[in-house]
Amino acid sequence: MYRIVTKRPLHETVTLMEVEAPYIAKKAKPGQFIILRVDENGERIPLTVAGTDPARGTVTIIFQKVGYTTRRLDCFGEGDELLDFVGPLGKASELEGMKKVAVIGGGLGVAIAYPQAKALHDMGAEVDVIVGFRNTDLMILMDELKASSTNLYVMTDDGSNGHKGFVTSALEEQLKAGKQYDHVVAIGPLVMMRAVCNITKQYNIPTVISMNPIMVDGTGMCGSCRVTVGGETKFACVDGPDFDGFEVDWDEAIARGKMYRKEEAVSMERKACNLMDVELQTRRGGN
C-alpha cells in the first residue's frame, strides 16, 4: 500500500498529492510516469511524475478530476493508502544538450511540463516557459514555474490575466520577434501539441512532445498505447512517452484517445451516486 502524505488542491479541479513510494522516488526522472489503482475494482491509470523527494521517499502526482477514477482518487485524503502505485515507467526525457529551450504546457500539461522546465533550468539551459490556461482561476504552479524559467509567458483563453490567446500565439510572437530556440518541448492536449508542431516545423526547431494515451499495464505488454511515429507503430509506455513531434500521426492519436468515450460516460453515470456519497463523506471528514 502507498500512503498519501500530502494532498493539496491546486484549484477546483486539479489536485496535487505526494505519495510514499521510496523505490520510485529514488529512480524517477522527468518524463517518466507511474500507474496507480485506487482499489480492487479500479482501473490502472497512468499519471506523469510531477516531482520526487528521494529523502522522504515520496512521489508527486498532479491530476485533474476528469473521469471516474480521478474523481475517486480525489476522495482519498492525507494518510489514506492507494492500493497500487508502480513505476517509474517509460523512458526519461532526453534533455542533454538542450541550451535554449521553449517549454510549452497547456492546462494540466503544465504540471507535466514543470519537471522538464526545472530539470533544464537546473542544467543551466536558457528556458522560456509558455503556459496556457482557460482562465486565471485555473492557473497552477505559477511560483514554481517562475523560479525555473528565464522568461515566463502565461496565456489565458479568455484574457482574464491580460494576455488573451493560446500558447501558440505566444510562441509565434517570440519566434517572429527573432527569438532562437534549439529545442521546443510541448506537453498538453493533443491538439495543442499538434498546433505547436505546426509552428515549430516552419522554423525547423526540433520539437519533443509527450504522449498520454490510454494504457493498461504500462510495461509494453498490451499495446493499448500504440502511436504511429514516422510511419512505425510505437508503444508510448516503453518507446516513449516522448517522441519527435514532427513524426507523430496526430489524427490517429486523437481518434485513439476517444475510444472509450462511451464507456467513460457509462462509468460516471452508473457510479455517480456512489461517487457523490464518497465525496460527501470526504468533505465531512475534513480532507
Partner: protein, 464 residues
C-alpha cells in the same frame, strides 16, 4: 484388476450453449467415484513412460495408485513433491502431447486421463485443507525471482523448500503472470491461482507486486545492493506481435494481450461494476490459430459478439492450439475461417474498424517450422465484416530486462540465451527460464525450466 475400458471417462462440463454466455469454468472435473474409476485404468507399468513425458516428472503411476485406494491427500503429496502448481497443470497442460501421449493404454484406445486425475486430486486436497509443505531450515541465502508466472513460481517454491529466502518480484498488481492476465476464468479460475500462490506464501515465499525489474529496480541492484545471491528471470513473453498490415491501429483492434488482460486481470466482463472496459461488437475477428486465439474467441463470444471467427492462414492440422481448445471453441459456435489471411483492416469515418480484407491461402512446401508454408491464392481477396479485431499471432519477450542489464546475452528475436541444462545466462548468478528464453510456449515447459534453474541455483549456492 485394472479397468479395461478403452476410453477416458469424460469430465463433467457445462453445456456449450450455456457456457458460451458465462465466465464460469467449462469443465467441472471428476467426482470421487469417477476419479477412482478412471484411475483403475492405469496399468501401473514398471517402466513408467508417462513420467518421462512430464517436464516436472510427476510420479504419475504412484499418485494414480493412491487414487484407486481413495487416498487422495496422499496422492496430492506425491504430486506436490515435484509440481508446485498441480491444480493449474491439471487444467492447462497439453497432456495429449506429454504424459498421456506416452501412456501404454493409448496404444489401443485412449490413454489414462492423467490430467483430469491430477486436477481432481489437487482440487480435493485444496478443498480439504492440505497441510503446507515443510521447507528445510533457513540456509541464510537469498534468491530473487523476476516474474510470478509459472516459471518463477516453480523456481520460487523449489528453492524455498530447500531453505532459501525467496522473493518474487511482479510488475503487475496481482501475482500469477499469464495465469492471471492471459488464461481466461472459464479455463482457469483465478481463485484457484490465488489458492496455489497462497500455498507458496504459506511456506514463506515473499511476493512483491508493482515491482518492474529494470525500472523500479534493476537486476544489478538486486545482486549488488539488495543482497540477493542469485536471480532467476522468468519474465515471460509479454510483447505482443502485430502483422504490420494497414489499419492495425484503428479503434476496435486489440492485441490478444490487451483484450485478455482487460478481461482476465481487470475483470472487464463485470464493467461497469469494475472500472476497466473492453469493447466487443457484433462481429469479432480473431487472427491466429493458437490457444491464445481460442481464448480470445471464446471470451468475445461470452461478451456478446454474435459472430466470432478465427482467421488462420494455414489449415486446422497446422493449428498450434490444443485439440481440446479447438473442439470447445467449435462447440461454442466459433466459426473457423481457415487458410485465410488478413491483408488490411478497414476503418469507418471515426477511426473504428468496420471490416477486414482477407485473402485465401494454399499450402505450399514445408518451411523451417516443418509446417506447410501458406501462399496467397490469386484473385481470392474478400472482405469480412468486423467491429472487433483481436490479433493473436504470438508474443516476444519483453526487452526491458535485456535493455537494462549490461552483459545479458539475448537472441536476435529477444529471447535470453541460457545453458539448457542449468538455465545459466551469460551473467554470473543470473538464471532464466520459461517464455523469456523459449518464446511463447506452455505453462508446464516454463515450470520445467523453473525447476531446472532452481536445481542449478541450489548447486551453485551450496558450493559457496
Amino acid at each position: 484388476m485394472p479397468n479395461m475400458r478403452m476410453t477416458k471417462l469424460p469430465a463433467r462440463e457445462q453445456a456449450p450453449d450455456v457456457r458460451n454466455k458465462n465466465f464460469n469454468e467449462v469443465s467441472q472435473g471428476y467426482d470421487e467415484a469417477m476419479a477412482i474409476d478412471e484411475a483403475k485404468r492405469c496399468l501401473n507399468c514398471k517402466h513408467k513412460p508417462c513420467v518421462s513425458g512430464c517436464p516436472v516428472n510427476v510420479r504419475i503411476p504412484e499418485f494414480i495408485q493412491l487414487v484407486t485406494e481413495g487416498k487422495f491427500m496422499e496422492a496430492y503429496e506425491v504430486i506436490r513433491s515435484t509440481n508446485a502448481l498441480p491444480a493449474v497443470c491439471g487444467r492447462v497442460c497439453p497432456q495429449e502431447t506429454q504424459c498421456e501421449q506416452k501412456c501404454v493404454r493409448g496404444i489401443k484406445g485412449e490413454p489414462v486421463g492423467i490430467g483430469r486425475l491430477e486436477r481432481f486430486v489437487a482440487d480435493y486436497a485444496m478443498a480439504h485443507g492440505a497441510e503446507p509443505a515443510k521447507p528445510l531450515p533457513d540456509n541464510g541465502k537469498k534468491v530473487a525471482i523476476v516474474g510470478s508466472g509459472p516459471a518463477g513460481l516453480t523456481c520460487a517454491g523449489d528453492l524455498r523448500k530447500l531453505g532459501y529466502e525467496v522473493t518474487v518480484f511482479e510488475a503487475l498488481h496481482t501475482p500469477g503472470g499469464v495465469l492471471v492476465y492471459g488464461i481466461p476464468e472459464f479455463r482457469l479460475p483465478k481463485q484457484l491461482v490465488r489458492d496455489e500462490i497462497k500455498t507458496l506464501e504459506d511456506i514463506g515465499v515473499k511476493i512483491e507486486t508493482n515491482m518492474v525489474i529494470g525500472r523500479t529496480i534493476t537486476l544489478d541492484e538486486l545482486l549488488e545492493e539488495e543482497g540477493f545471491d542469485a536471480v532467476f528471470v522468468g519474465s515471460g513473453a509479454g510483447l505482443p506481435r502485430f502483422q504490420g498490415i494497414p489499419g492495425e491501429n484503428l479503434n476496435g483492434v486489440y492485441s490478444a494481450n490487451e483484450f485478455l488482460t482487460r478481461i482476465n486481470l481487470m475483470k472487464a466482463y463485470h464493467f461497469p461494476e469494475t472500472d476497466t472496459p473492453v469493447q466487443v461488437g457484433e462481429n469479432a475477428v480473431i487472427v491466429g490459430g493458437g490457444n491464445v486465439a481460442m481464448d480470445a474467441a471464446r471470451s468475445a463470444k461470452r461478451l456478446g459478439a454474435k459472430n466470432v471467427s478465427i482467421v488462420y492462414r494455414r489449415s486446422e492440422k497446422e493449428m498450434p492450439a490444443r485439440v481440446e481448445e479447438v473442439h470447445h471453441a467449435k462447440e461454442e459456435g466459433i466459426v473457423f475461417k481457415l487458410l485465410t489471411n488478413p491483408t488490411e483492416i478497414i476503418g469507418d469515418e471515426n477511426g473504428h474498424v468496420k471490416a477486414v480484407t482477407c485473402v485465401e491461402m494454399e499450402l505450399g512446401e514445408p518451411d523451417a517450422s516443418g509446417r506447410c508454408r501458406p501462399v496467397v491464392k490469386p484473385g481470392s481477396e474478400h472482405t469480412v465484416d468486423a467491429d472487433t479485431v483481436v490479433v493473436a499471432i504470438g508474443n516476444s519477450p519483453n526487452p526491458l530486462i535485456k535493455n537494462t542489464t549490461p552483459g545479458l546475452d539475448t537472441q536476435k528475436w529477444g529471447g535470453i540465451v541460457v545453458d539448457e541444462e542449468t538455465g545459466k545466462t551469460s551473467r554470473p548468478h543470473v538464471y532464466a527460464g520459461g517464455d523469456t528464453v523459449t518464446g511463447a510456449a506452455t505453462v508446464i515447459l516454463a515450470m520445467g525450466a523453473g525447476k531446472t534453474a532452481a536445481k542449478a541455483i541450489h548447486e551453485e549456492l551450496s558450493k559457496a
